[in-house]
């Protein structure tokens, strides 16, 4: 699709108009500065140069507080692009472990973040059901609750790793439209049983209560398997940007289907062919076709350290770190290469490895001062191996615009400067 076309303008496109490019440059500058600050915060001053004695407070510190804040030296920030039709990227390079803090979970909105009164909130389930039902938020909270740790990823994530690539690109800018949370809510299957879903129902229409009234069709089979109608994220009520008071969570499936501000579910016997599953979120393919209903997110990984704009402090040991995930299930292995994919060695996976959740991998590498290209390659429990950029482009075509899960690389030069390996 067109780099200057509407796709680029409305989704995280690789080639943004000047105003947005300016915005982006600002966001990158902020991200870079935030990274440098957070790195400095993590590294204690060298005791030989600084005070030889440990710091001991001369007086008691701050009192207890109702709501905690980050340490003053820690500056974590999403990188917003666009405005009410836009997205904001999770700072992947600044995070450890697997869970994304809720206030840093990526955003993607089609018409801004609505302010929904939780008291007036209603969810309607109707269509091919025996009993059309309306639930309040309090009703939903009375049902047996279920929690699930899983990633959400915008299927437009990764365009800067596939099209119009640039060496000066951070993990946040390349893949920041993925985040992992613990979601809590009621199983959609429970609500469908309550409404008495009929045998002839094959598809559900899920509708959001934002100004776009965003709609997607969801197969009933997925709804009955593991779909959640979630009201909490990482233990607290959903944040407005994540769909307060209620959103759909479809583990492993493309972000756009996880409809936020969920207000209506309609059961039908065929897909509803909404704009978001026809004009958008379809994958142009070689052979002059477009793939529709490509729900599952294939296996993917990215090294988040070292990455642009890091400069390695010197030769020696360096732990390579990153995240891997697959919408098909568990990650079973991540291999790391330091020579641009010629040779690979297995990384260590942080346990427990959960299906359809970010999986942290780590690999201890010895840098001897030579130019190197670091890469990571994920494998999932279905035997699927994350493809190279060349493979994915040859299979799908350079203009395809979603589900861009190819291997990403980072070049390290002789001075230790790390940049994105922006080449096919």
């Amino acid at each position: 699709m067109a780099d200057e076309g509407p796709e680029a303008a409305t989704d995280p496109g690789p080639d943004v108009p000047v105003t947005r490019r300016t915005l982006l440059a600002g966001a990158l500058g902020a991200a870079t500065a935030a990274f440098a600050r957070s790195l400095a915060a993590q590294m204690p001053a060298n005791p030989v140069q600084g005070s030889p004695a440990p710091q001991s407070p001369a007086a008691p510190g701050l009192p207890t507080s109702a709501v905690g804040t980050r340490a003053p030296s820690v500056h974590l920030a999403r990188a917003p692009v666009g405005a009410v039709v836009g997205e904001s990227y999770t700072p992947l390079q600044d995070l450890d472990g697997t869970i994304t803090p809720a206030d840093l979970h990526f955003e993607r909105h089609h018409a801004g973040v609505p302010a929904i009164d939780p008291v007036g909130y209603r969810l309607l389930i109707h269509g091919l059901v025996d009993r059309p039902v309306i639930f309040t938020l309090a009703d939903l909270r009375r049902f047996p609750a279920r929690s699930r740790i899983c990633f959400l990823e915008c299927s437009g994530n990764g365009r800067k790793g596939y099209r119009a690539m640039s060496p000066q690109t951070t993990p946040q800018q390349i893949d920041g439209l993925t985040s992992t949370s613990e979601w809590t809510g009621v199983a959609l299957a429970t609500l469908l049983a309550e409404a008495g879903i009929q045998k002839s129902a094959r598809w559900l229409l899920a509708e959001g209560g934002d100004a776009a009234l965003l709609t997607r069709s969801v197969p009933v089979a997925k709804a009955l398997d593991d779909a959640l109608v979630a009201y909490a994220q990482n233990g607290e009520p959903l944040r407005p940007e994540q769909g307060f008071p209620v959103r759909l969570v479809l583990p492993g499936w493309e972000g756009n289907m996880n409809v936020k501000w969920l207000r209506r579910i309609k059961a039908g016997d065929e897909p509803f062919m909404t704009r978001e599953e026809t004009a958008r979120y379809t994958d142009a393919l070689r052979g002059d076709e477009a793939r529709q209903f490509s729900f599952v997110m294939d296996a993917k990984s990215i090294i988040t350290f070292p990455a642009y704009p890091t400069v390695l402090p010197g030769r020696g040991w360096c732990e390579v770190r990153g995240i891997a995930w697959s919408g098909r299930g568990r990650i079973t292995g991540v291999d790391v290469s330091a020579d641009g994919g010629a040779t690979w060695a297995p990384a260590t996976l942080q346990q427990p490895v959960l299906p359809m959740a970010h999986t942290r991998f780590r690999y201890v590498w010895q840098w001897q001062g030579q130019p190197a290209t670091l890469m990571s390659r994920a494998t999932d429990e279905t035997g699927y191996v994350q493809p190279t950029l060349a493979t994915l482009r040859s299979v799908r075509g350079p203009g395809t615009n979603y589900h861009l899960n190819n291997i990403r690389g980072w070049d390290v030069d002789a001075a230790g400067r790390v940049t994105f390996a922006a080449r096919v």
Partner: protein, 214 residues
């Protein structure tokens, strides 16, 4: 089915009979502790009724007020109609500022370009990175145009167009794309009959799982 992360602890704990059968409290406790994360889910699943009786039945009027979606076969389209000629003035007043005076040029990002056909109705989007998708060259269903404009446009005051205005402005966009004549009357009966140039381009997901990259 519980999520896979909760499988693998398939005891019915919290069931008094199980504790007695397994010969003592210690065993039951060990199981309960080992499975503490999942035991509440298991318990409630074991005891769950077919229905809880929470919520209330929606009335016919409530459903009518919410049920505005339009399917590809036209189900959901309201009575009324409109023509491109009628839609031109609505487009100029309500849409052109963002989507360009004629729909083909001058769209203001992030508003997309709505009008444009490919030579021979080609579909080169996978290979030509400069190709601009539009209603005319990419959308598979004309009914989606009604559904989307009615729910989401004009951006800034969605839902402010009457059914007649939505039919008319949809007719205008389709006529600008050369898909219907400007005199065509679009209605609940005729809109589903409009054949979009890209209709046959769409294929369902053909990824089959497993190692193959597609």
């Amino acid at each position: 089915m519980p999520p896979a992360s909760e499988r693998g602890c398939g005891f019915r704990i919290g069931d008094g009979r199980l504790a007695r059968l397994s010969g003592g409290l210690a065993v039951a406790l060990t199981v309960a502790i080992a499975c503490r994360q999942v035991s509440p889910v298991r318990q409630s699943a074991a005891a769950a009724p077919a229905r809880f009786g929470f919520g209330r039945i929606a009335t016919v009027d409530e459903i009518r007020a919410w049920d505005t979606d339009v399917r590809a076969d036209g189900r959901g389209l309201p009575p009324d109609s409109g023509t491109a000629t009628e839609g031109a003035a609505i487009y100029t007043a309500r849409c052109a500022a963002c989507h360009g005076a004629d729909g083909a040029h001058g769209a203001v990002a992030p508003a997309p370009t709505l009008v444009g056909r490919m030579p021979d109705d080609a579909f080169p989007f996978a290979t030509d990175t400069t190709a601009v998708p539009t209603v005319g060259n990419y959308w598979p269903y004309a009914t989606t145009l009604y559904d989307y404009i009615h729910r989401a446009m004009p951006f800034g005051s969605p839902g402010s167009l009457s059914p007649h205005e939505v039919y008319a402005v949809a007719a205008f966009i389709l006529a600008r794309n050369g898909i219907v004549p400007s005199t065509a009357v679009l209605s609940a009966r005729t809109l589903p009959l409009v054949r979009m140039p890209a209709r046959h381009r769409f294929v369902p997901d053909d990824r089959t799982g497993g190692p193959e990259v597609r």
